[in-house]
């Protein structure tokens, strides 16, 4: 004990209250002075990671690289189809991260990554070195999954699975459709971004069509046999949209054994493996997904096309100094949601500050809650509490989580209110 060095003492102090005693945790770092963490991707994962790194240790320099100066959130974007929100209301900038938390923002794109040198270059010509890199780059699409459905085809048949112009395009197509028209929503197999998203989308479209074009129909063609919150969605559809009757606004069909293989752009026909043909006035095709290009290009994905990580720290299995969080990473059984990305970012930020300051890494805890609106006054939710098991794999904590218990009018109205409130608070916790 007598040999305890001043440095170790200061490390202990720095771990206790880095905000108060910043300046004491100065260990030798490759950048010489302060540690530098680069975060790539300014969505819910990346923005939360950048903010919480600075909150945890103001001595760490954080650079956030994001190609867009403003971010349009996928959460809430389905509400646009019911006329409940606008792109403006879904848009956030990075001013608070920069000026309140001291995150350095680079509106730029990574062009090359040199993991051996722990450095990267951007399209804008910047060269950055990092002590640790956190990637939260989101998703990309498998353009080879449905023949004929390529990037160019999205301008005619929007996926609207990254919010923005695609969302507007789909909303306009819905508005232009004749009464009695058919909206077709093609849904991929798991895993994909936002498991309940397609069904909330169908609900919001049905809410709008019920008032404006009640003879119309939404046809969900699903690559799965069942889906997230299915019982709650179907109960809500029965209550509001005549689900299960001949006049239902929504029909759900599983194509688990008969996947959609081809799109004919001219005839607007989707053909399945058994030769079944489907068409509609609006074709919303949500293709199967992969981790974003940057992860694929730099060998951070495995055969699943997602990034395997050590969950405690988020470190890539392929590079100790690169952490991957959010939709691009494999955190199953935690679903790919904005809420989960925020939670993964916090665990990662705690681990990264611990690694940099050489303090013990705390036990990781993750949380997910996904709310969906079936109608403006009808909300439902699913939640999960997660931690590591003895084999260091993520497991849902037994007895916790699950779907909404209350299904009466009062409960679903409360949950609709919470759906909107949680969206706002998640925005503040992430970007504000």
């Amino acid at each position: 004990m007598a040999g305890l060095s001043r440095r170790r003492f200061l490390q202990g102090v720095a771990g206790f209250g880095a905000g108060v005693l910043s300046g004491c945790g100065g260990l030798p770092l490759r950048s010489g002075g302060k540690a530098h963490v680069v975060v790539v991707g300014g969505g819910f994962g990346g923005a939360t990671a950048a903010k919480y790194l600075r909150l945890l240790d103001a001595n760490i320099q954080v650079t956030l690289i994001e190609p867009k100066a403003k971010y349009i959130t996928c959460p809430g974007s389905n509400w646009l189809f019911a006329g409940l929100t606008s792109l403006d209301q879904l848009t956030v900038d990075y001013q608070a991260l920069q000026y309140r938390y001291g995150v350095k923002l680079l509106v730029d794109r990574v062009s090359s990554l040199d993991p051996a040198r722990r450095s990267l270059r951007t399209l804008g010509g910047q060269s950055l070195s990092y002590d640790r890199l956190i990637l939260s780059p989101g998703i990309d699409f498998r353009w080879d999954a449905i023949a004929g459905y390529d990037q160019a085809a999205t301008e005619q048949f929007p996926h609207a699975w990254q919010a923005g112009l695609q969302t507007l395009l789909l909303a306009r197509q819905l508005q232009a459709m004749p009464d009695g028209g058919v909206v077709l929503i093609a849904v991929p197999a798991d895993p994909y971004r936002c498991p309940p998203g397609p069904y909330e989308r169908a609900s919001m479209m049905a809410y709008w069509l019920k008032q404006r074009k009640p003879r119309s129909k939404i046809l969900i063609l699903d690559a799965k046999r069942s889906f997230s919150k299915q019982t709650l969605f179907e109960a809500g559809w029965t209550k509001h949209y005549g689900y299960g009757t001949a006049n239902s606004l929504i029909e759900w069909h599983s194509l688990a054994d008969n996947p959609l293989l081809e799109l004919n752009k001219q005839s607007r026909v989707l053909t399945s493996e058994f030769g079944d043909q489907f068409s509609g006035d609006v074709l919303n095709i949500i293709p199967p997904q992969t981790a974003a290009q940057i992860a694929l290009q730099h060998g951070l994905t495995d055969s699943t096309a997602w990034c395997p990580v050590r969950p405690l720290t988020g470190q890539s299995l392929f590079d100790d100094f690169i952490h991957v969080i959010g939709d691009a990473a494999h955190y199953a059984p935690i679903p790919k949601s904005a809420f989960a990305a925020n939670s993964e970012a916090k665990a990662c930020a705690l681990a990264v500050t611990s690694l940099i300051n050489q303090t013990p890494i705390p036990e990781a805890h993750w949380l997910n809650t996904c709310y969906s609106l079936i109608a403006p006054e009808h909300g439902i939710s699913v939640a999960g509490v997660y931690k590591l098991d003895a084999a260091n794999a993520i497991m849902p904590v037994k007895g916790a989580g699950g779907v909404s218990a209350g299904t009466d009018g009062e409960a679903v109205a409360l949950e609709a209110d919470y759906t909107r409130a949680v969206y706002r608070s998640l925005m503040v916790d992430t970007f504000g």
Binding site: M1, A2, L4, R6, R8, F9, G12, V13, G15, F16, Y52, F339, N342, S343, K346, A347, L350, S354, T359, P360, P362, E363, A364, H365, W366, L367, T369, S381, A383, V385, V397, G399, A400, G401, G402, S404, A405, G406, A411, L414, E415, D417, Y418, A421, V422, R424, S425, L426, V428, D429, G432
Partner: protein, 98 residues
């Protein structure tokens, strides 16, 4: 004199480290409360209860009541069941001070 000084430093350091470990565990859980329970003027119209100015004892009792189904709510009973009583107490303590 020098030795006494080292011992004193070691005692302080070990105490701080012990606190640091408990603190960090609570943060790992409590950060996830902030997804919903943000303390921001931007969110003043929220229907989600603010935790501001609540004592550790009040937060702890509420969490335990959610966990053991003594206090009905739409979401919190599902979440509180994911943690030990000791974890909930540590989270309450953390949230009352931050």
């Amino acid at each position: 004199m020098k030795r006494i000084c080292y011992v004193a430093v070691a005692l302080v350091a070990s105490t701080l480290n012990a606190i640091a470990h408990a603190e960090i565990d609570a943060r790992a859980i409590a950060f996830n409360c902030r997804n919903c329970h943000t303390e921001s003027s931007l969110d003043s119209k929220s229907s989600i209860p603010s935790l501001k100015d609540l004592s550790a004892q009040r937060i702890r009792q509420a969490l335990l009541d959610f966990k053991y189904d003594k206090k009905p709510a739409t979401l919190m009973p599902r979440l509180a069941k994911g943690y030990s009583d000791a974890e909930l107490a540590a989270v309450a303590e953390y949230l009352s001070r931050n």
